[in-house]
Assembly symmetry: C2
């Protein structure tokens, strides 16, 4: 189809939306390593995981053989409220850059959670409801996941307890109110409401918190309240499974117009967006059907893939969670408070870690002022004010498009625009006032994190 | 087509998007009264208006004969960045209410300005650019219009000076940062930067401002800076013209599925959304082709249609603007500071005023706690956190749907969901904390406003 026939936004029909999630583990030769019981160092059994997670989600977590897992009709009906999300051709950005590259972005921000997080939130809340639970507990960093879960719980009439990383709680009071409007209770973490929170506060008074620490509190709250389970917005296999809806829709939209991407780019914190976006394309690569290039983009201030170690580590600061094999900066790593937005997690999804370790994906780290420059440039021509997290992917997409400008190559670049920055205006204000600075940890800075890695392998 | 075939979201193809705006004045028997020169009390000539507005916009302002005015390709290309907007079937709300009514909403919030305002902002900025101007000035209340104009100006590389009603400037600091990110300068109004601002501050020290006052300042700034013109986000004929894109898309989307609405509902501040949404449908009524019922919804605390006078009045507090014939509370009316969000303007579009005066449209006023109750209910089932302004329409849509529940009527209700409430969390917080109160002005409260009406007719 002629290039000029490609609309600004490619929407699938509701009937074309995916009916099953894609499980990339089924096509991986080297499967991601299993979660380990921190006491026995043996792989976690379904029964053990069942104390923390809903049964159906445990099954999904452990399933590395089925390539497709059906999306229940109730979840698909919720998806229809805000999906399909558009695959946008960035005509205006291309023009502004003067690049021969063709840029597309899958925009996941057109819902009140402001991000892709809703895709997994509704799935996890649905299975909790199906199991007859009273409610769920979780942590949230930048707030998108907490908002998404609150929305899903309000829809299904489930109770929702959110532990919010303190620095975000303070920088984003309005996020808290969105969650409260959806009926959730929100506690800044670390808090005095859990044993692990009290311990962390004692050891690190004045800490602004971290995702790892909020996870510990949420897990404790789930396991000490009758009828509750814990849910997590990233990192886990089940989350990447649910987020595959992003990649499946992208794949279908590209197919509709016979577009073949060269490079697929996503920001990476815990890996939920990146994993969801690239999974189906990675599947093509793994089956020898394609040869896409994948780039994970992470902040230079929290560089788990580019500078972390591939090892078993705790998923949380309080060390109450199972061990996961992943690229990690160590659960003792606490990112600099000058770092804006999410992507603050010390580790990385086991699936993505394995793929990266096997050389099937690239990774790049970028500094935050360069990220906000890209965000501003994008906002002014494409009309969408992006989240700082998403803007990491924009930065590298622009860099790749500018390379094409130099070489004259007409590459097709697809990136994930995970969300909007409407609750990140404190960071934008800093940038607008020229008060934003960069931070690259020295090896010395990273040492305490690495020292916290357990000795397992 | 069978009811169950109607998707959750009806999207037009880009090729189905309107190529011309619809000018309802062409079909009105009683045309809206012309703007008057405040000095001579004679109708403003194109030349006089040209000192304040761009030439092309003056022509549109005065044109009450052409039913269709072509949308320039440059504007249509900008529209394609964020339009068509979805017409959403509120399946989940219907189910929650248990109503036999069928509810649809045209959702205009999926863009960074968070509202429909972008539809006119890009048009006005485009004509300013085409005329070779340096920039534009404007006022903004809740902030959507200022954001929209900043976005349009950034896209076209025009300077943008925004006077922001002080109460919003203080309640919504993040709105200011969005505008700054798009390169606009933002001044809280009333300010010391204009003569009229200084005068208002002297007469009403400590005032939290009003749209009427910010308009005066913006007009003064435009007429005292070389190469600038003033632009306005509502009230004017030209704005309703541009906003007709909302109604035209809605009409086309309904037609696609052979849906015939019974009631069309919109919130009304200055009238831009309501006018834009209903214009094409009103045209059908005026031509005797249909018999839709229209309901304008306004806040009980700023009831220009339901309690105002139909008379010539100043559009601004400083009385520097032309006089418009409209339903008005008087330019001296200042709404209660406890009132959340926009819809704070003392007057109402001349077009809508005339239609209302001729009995072609109904109006209803609602109190704000009832509005936020509707907002919360809507958010929890439909997933979108609505703007307080838009929630006025939700309130009445729910009321009408509940009436259908009582009577068993299967009416089809369409309402305009103008935008999202992400920058209104101060108001939501008040509501969440049970601290929101209602305010209905007494006749005594309205007296100073009415006393400020000029003696013209």
């Amino acid at each position: 189809m002629a290039d000029n026939k490609i609309p600004y936004k490619i929407y699938l029909e509701e009937s074309e939306m995916p009916k099953a999630w894609y499980n990339v583990r089924a096509d991986m030769k080297n499967k991601p390593a299993p979660l380990l019981n921190p006491a026995t160092l043996k792989p976690m059994t379904a029964e053990e995981l069942g104390h923390v997670f809903c049964d159906e989600l445990v099954a999904q977590e452990l399933n590395d053989t089925d390539a497709y897992i059906e999306i229940p009709e109730e979840i698909r009906s919720f998806y229809r409220m805000y999906r399909p999300s558009p695959l946008v051709r960035a005509y205006c950005l291309e023009k502004k850059l003067g690049t021969p590259a063709k840029i597309y972005y899958k925009f996941e921000g057109n819902n009140t959670s402001g991000s892709h997080k809703l895709n997994s939130a509704i799935a996890q809340a649905y299975y909790a409801k199906k199991q007859g639970l009273k409610g769920v507990t979780t942590e949230t960093g930048a707030g998108q996941w907490g908002t998404a879960l609150s929305m899903a719980c309000a829809y299904l009439d489930l109770d929702c307890k959110v532990y919010m990383v303190k620095v975000s709680y303070e920088q984003k009071p309005f996020r808290r109110e969105v969650m409260r409007t959806y009926g959730a209770s929100v506690t800044p973490s670390p808090s005095e409401t859990t044993e692990v929170g009290r311990k962390i506060l004692q050891e690190h008074p004045g800490t602004t918190g971290s995702l790892g620490c909020a996870i510990s509190e949420a897990v404790e709250a789930a396991t000490t309240h009758e009828g509750y389970r814990y849910v997590l917005g990233s990192v886990l296999n089940q989350v990447l499974l649910h987020q595959s809806v992003i990649g499946l829709e992208t794949q279908a939209a590209l197919k509709k117009y016979d577009i073949k991407p060269d490079i697929i780019i996503g920001c990476a914190g815990g890996g939920s967006n990146l994993g969801g976006l690239i999974s189906p394309f990675m599947g093509e690569n793994l089956r020898g059907e394609a040869n896409y290039k994948f780039i994970a983009v992470e902040p230079a201030s929290c560089p788990s893939l580019t500078r972390g170690k591939f090892a078993y580590d705790f998923c949380d600061t309080g060390k109450v969670c199972p061990l996961a094999k992943m690229y990690s900066l160590g659960s003792g790593f606490i990112p600099s408070p000058n770092h804006a937005g999410g992507l603050r997690y010390h580790g990385m999804s086991s699936i993505l870690s394995q793929l990266y370790h096997d050389g099937l994906m690239e990774a790049r780290s970028v500094e935050q002022t360069a990220v906000f420059e890209a965000a501003e440039q994008f906002a002014r021509v494409e009309g969408i004010l992006p989240a700082p997290e998403s803007s990491h992917a924009i930065r590298v997409a622009i860099d790749e498009a500018l390379k094409c400008k130099e070489t004259g190559e007409e590459k097709t670049i697809v990136f994930g625009l995970t969300g909007t920055g409407y609750f990140d205006m404190v960071a934008y204000e800093k940038f607008n006032n020229g008060e934003m600075s960069d931070y690259i940890p020295t090896d010395e800075d990273l040492k305490p994190g690495f020292d916290s890695l357990p000795k397992v392998d």
